[in-house]
Amino acid sequence: MSGRGFLDMRDMTARATTESPSRAAAVQKVVSKGGVEAWLVEDYAVPLIALEFAFKGGAAQDPIGKPGVATLLAGLLDEGAGPYDADGFHRALDEDAIEMSFSADRDILSGRMQTLSRNRARAFELLRLAVAEARLDAEPFERVVSQMAAGLKREANDPDYVAGRAFRSFSYPGHPYGLPVRGDLATLPTLTRGNLIDMRANVFARDKLKIAVVGAIDAATLATHIDDVFGALPEKSNLDPIASVSFSGEGERHVSQIDVPQSTIRFGREGIARKDPDFIAATVVNHILGGGIFSARLFREVREKRGLAYSVYSQLVTYNHAAMLSGGTSTKNERAAESMSVIEGEIASLANDGPTEQELDKAKKYLIGSYALRFDTSTKIAGQLTHLQTEGFGVEYLDERNRLIAAVTMEDAKRAAKRLFGDAKLLVTVAGRPEGM
């Protein structure tokens, strides 16, 4: 039941601190005749193949005044391709139980495919059609636009989305990162097929393509398939340059009035870039503030001690050209101000005093030990390996990552906390009827 990849998979996971087995050694770099590269973890325990890929160039590449183009393009890739119209393409997928989906993020346009290994050839053929020959026909174009519009209407007065949209637009005004990835009701009708064709021509190229595959397939077979799917794409992408941007609005509060009993709050400030030497220490410090579940300060102070909220969290968000610390919670209107002052108090305390030795030790242990849980299914492994590549890391980072966390000292943590939380000023957006804010 197991081949070589099976043993490698065991090595890919856990026991990182003590024995340091190599996760990277499980990954084969496959380069096709045509020069397309993929990372492969070969494993025959389950008769499946999972693939993920990403092109650099997502919603940040949307034309000026037309947010949603990348999302619409992703949404149309499986809506008719080559000889198939939309219905024909979906029938072909369903007849062989092939799973395929595409999506756009700020910085990437990505796709996922999963197939039973017995349908491998058919799955790669359909993937080739979607990537290389999507038809972008008028029927699915109109339909998917109307689906996007319905989704936006559904969220129009949802406190979570309202607070999130406001947070986004105040944090990066006048920059593509401040615009909605899934489009805007007012400008959706102006999107054209020409916009999609331009974006595809600019983004779908081999120079910024990353691929990861996990499952019952060998390197030689995979090489042939990735050549078929991606080999005919242009060599070079043609992306609009995106300016680096700082976080705006620290110290501001904006309330969107919605008639609901609870206030949904988003807060944030400038973060630390992914390639910054302090990023790992910042990850540890954020875990202590609001990244962990039961152990985080925000969970303890806001939820457990005071019963102010069900959900409270903070996270580090990094883009190719920006970085932020952000977080959120939802508290009944009468206690929204109290929640916010507890959160601000914890941020200020971490900025001034840093974490305790015990907090630091526990956060590092959790982050190191839990890394293994990201590698226990084929689709999760494919996702991790694609993400690593799009972030610009080599396969050795799989082994390096836990060592970097283990090496974070109290001095590092305090420095990162000072940088991350600084003067503790936050941009705060609220949706609801908060009292005293």
Binding site: A14, D87, E95, L116, S311, Y366, T377
Partner: protein, 464 residues
């Protein structure tokens, strides 16, 4: 395809979790499963998956919101939160800190028919997870100091999920209308005014009744040897004294439904109307042999994705809707729900959409199904069982939920064959369950400030 959860009545189907990160339930399965029962009545299921040195440890209790005493709705879910408050020997947070130190993850969730607790850790730490769950199965300690703020947490959870969301308020009203007698009609999280009245005494009485080894199922999935897991469980869980008989669930039967009910909610926060119909149908446990499987195939054929009958007809061909689907909630102790939902295209009334949905269902019941559609639906369902093998946590949830609702290991393991055995004639017959008189239809509507529906605004109206 654009992924949308538009108008899908998810709240009543899923489980309510301790924290906002628990995964959602799924079906499927196939590896060599081991099963055992300890002398104290604890059931054990072991699902080996040797691909990664990780283990998923779950304890399921055969009680959920449908077992909440009258007037005490929400107690199953509230107790689930309170189970993290410490025991006689281990103060609050001690085990959670241990699990976190290993890099483990934990959570818990409550559904209509079960309550479950889980940890995901490197396999070396399985014993600690067992000690954690065995300890809180018998030694829970609650004080008013921890109960009061946690009740506020649950009320905030309810405000977040339901009280700020008109579509969830409609879902609640639809369920309450569908089940006139049976407790599936009550929200898992409970009604606000009843949650407010829940205290330490309610929680401990409920705990005493249901948290016993006879009522629990241990599910362990991952890089483990079955016999070692059973031996370890014998050593740790085996020390919990038997209580004698498992607790009995006594729930009133739902009478045969005879009248269609329309429930409408109009709210000025709603900008996108939506439609849902929920039918009372048998579950995997209550159905005659083959019936639930036929309903499963029917749900897939009617509304499982973009080639389904509802999507093809309403969205692609007739342009009456922008989304449409169906779902059979088969994993339930008692008679359960079959959902049909759609989101109207601009300018299409909910009444017109409703009539079109009725016509599609009637056509299947009268004329049966297209052979290609039928085969495609079965192919995809059977493949789900293989895809599930890629995820030990999915398998653990599938087996746990099935056993907790009265099914057996064999029922789960042979599910793909039973789906294969469904005939086109079975599916045609299954469509007879989708009789309008067995259903509640829910309309989520915009409230125009000056419109005639003003009296409906902010409240749910139940009409015959």
């Amino acid at each position: 395809m654009i992924s949308m959860s538009l108008g899908q009545p998810t709240a009543a189907q899923g489980a309510v979790s301790l924290t906002p990160s628990a995964p959602s339930p799924a079906k499927p399965g196939g590896p060599a499963i081991a099963q055992a029962k300890l002398a104290n009545g604890l059931d054990i299921v072991v699902i080996p998956d040797h691909r990664a040195p990780v283990v998923t440890h779950m304890v399921w209790y055969r009680n959920g919101s449908a077992d909440d005493p009258l007037g005490r709705s929400g107690i199953a879910h509230f107790l689930e939160h309170l189970m993290f408050k410490g025991t006689k020997n281990n103060p609050q947070g001690k085990f959670s800190e241990l699990i976190a130190d290993f890099g483990g993850q934990e959570n818990a969730f409550t559904s209509n028919d079960y309550t479950a607790y889980f940890q995901r850790v490197a396999k070396d730490h399985l014993a600690v997870c067992m000690e954690y769950e065995a300890d809180r199965m018998k030694n829970l300690v609650l004080t008013d100091e921890v109960v009061a703020p946690e009740r506020d947490v649950v009320l905030e959870e309810r405000r977040m999920r339901t009280d700020s969301d008109p579509s969830d308020q409609l879902n609640e009203a639809v369920q309450a209308a569908l089940f006139t007698q049976h407790p599936y009609g009550k929200p898992i999280i409970g009604w606000s005014h009843e949650i407010e009245s829940l205290g330490r005494g309610d929680a401990l009485a409920y705990y005493d009744r249901f948290y016993t080894p006879e009522n629990a199922i241990l599910v362990v999935a991952g890089d483990v040897e079955p016999q070692e897991v059973i031996d370890l469980a014998q050593k740790i869980y085996g020390q919990i004294p038997a209580r004698g008989e498992p607790p009995q669930r006594t729930r009133p039967h739902e009478p045969e439904p005879r009248a269609h009910r329309l429930v409408t909610l109009a709210d000025e926060k709603v900008e996108q109307p939506s439609h849902q119909s929920v039918f009372l149908v048998p579950s995997y446990r209550t159905a005659a042999p083959g019936q639930a499987e036929a309903l499963e195939v029917l749900a897939h054929l009617l509304g499982g994705g973009q080639t389904s009958l509802l999507f093809k007809t309403l969205v692609m061909d007739d342009k009456l809707a922008v989304a449409a689907g169906a779902h059979y909630q088969g994993t339930a102790v008692d008679d359960t729900r079959f959902y049909v939902f759609a989101v109207p295209a601009p300018g299409v009334t909910l009444e017109r959409l409703d009539a079109a949905i009725d016509a599609i269902i009637a056509r299947v019941a009268a004329l049966g199904v297209n052979e290609a559609d039928f085969l495609r639906a079965k192919t995809r369902l059977v493949a789900e069982a293989i895809y599930a093998q890629d995820n030990q946590a999915t398998l653990a949830r599938w087996y746990g939920a099935s056993l907790a609702t009265g099914l057996t290991i064999e029922d789960v393991a042979h599910w793909p064959e039973r789906i294969e055995a469904v005939t086109a004639e079975d599916v045609k017959k299954a469509a007879l369950w989708l009789d309008k008189r067995r259903s509640v239809t829910g309309f989520l509507m915009s409230a125009e400030p000056a419109a005639s529906v003003e009296s409906d605004a902010e409240s749910a109206l139940v009409a015959g």
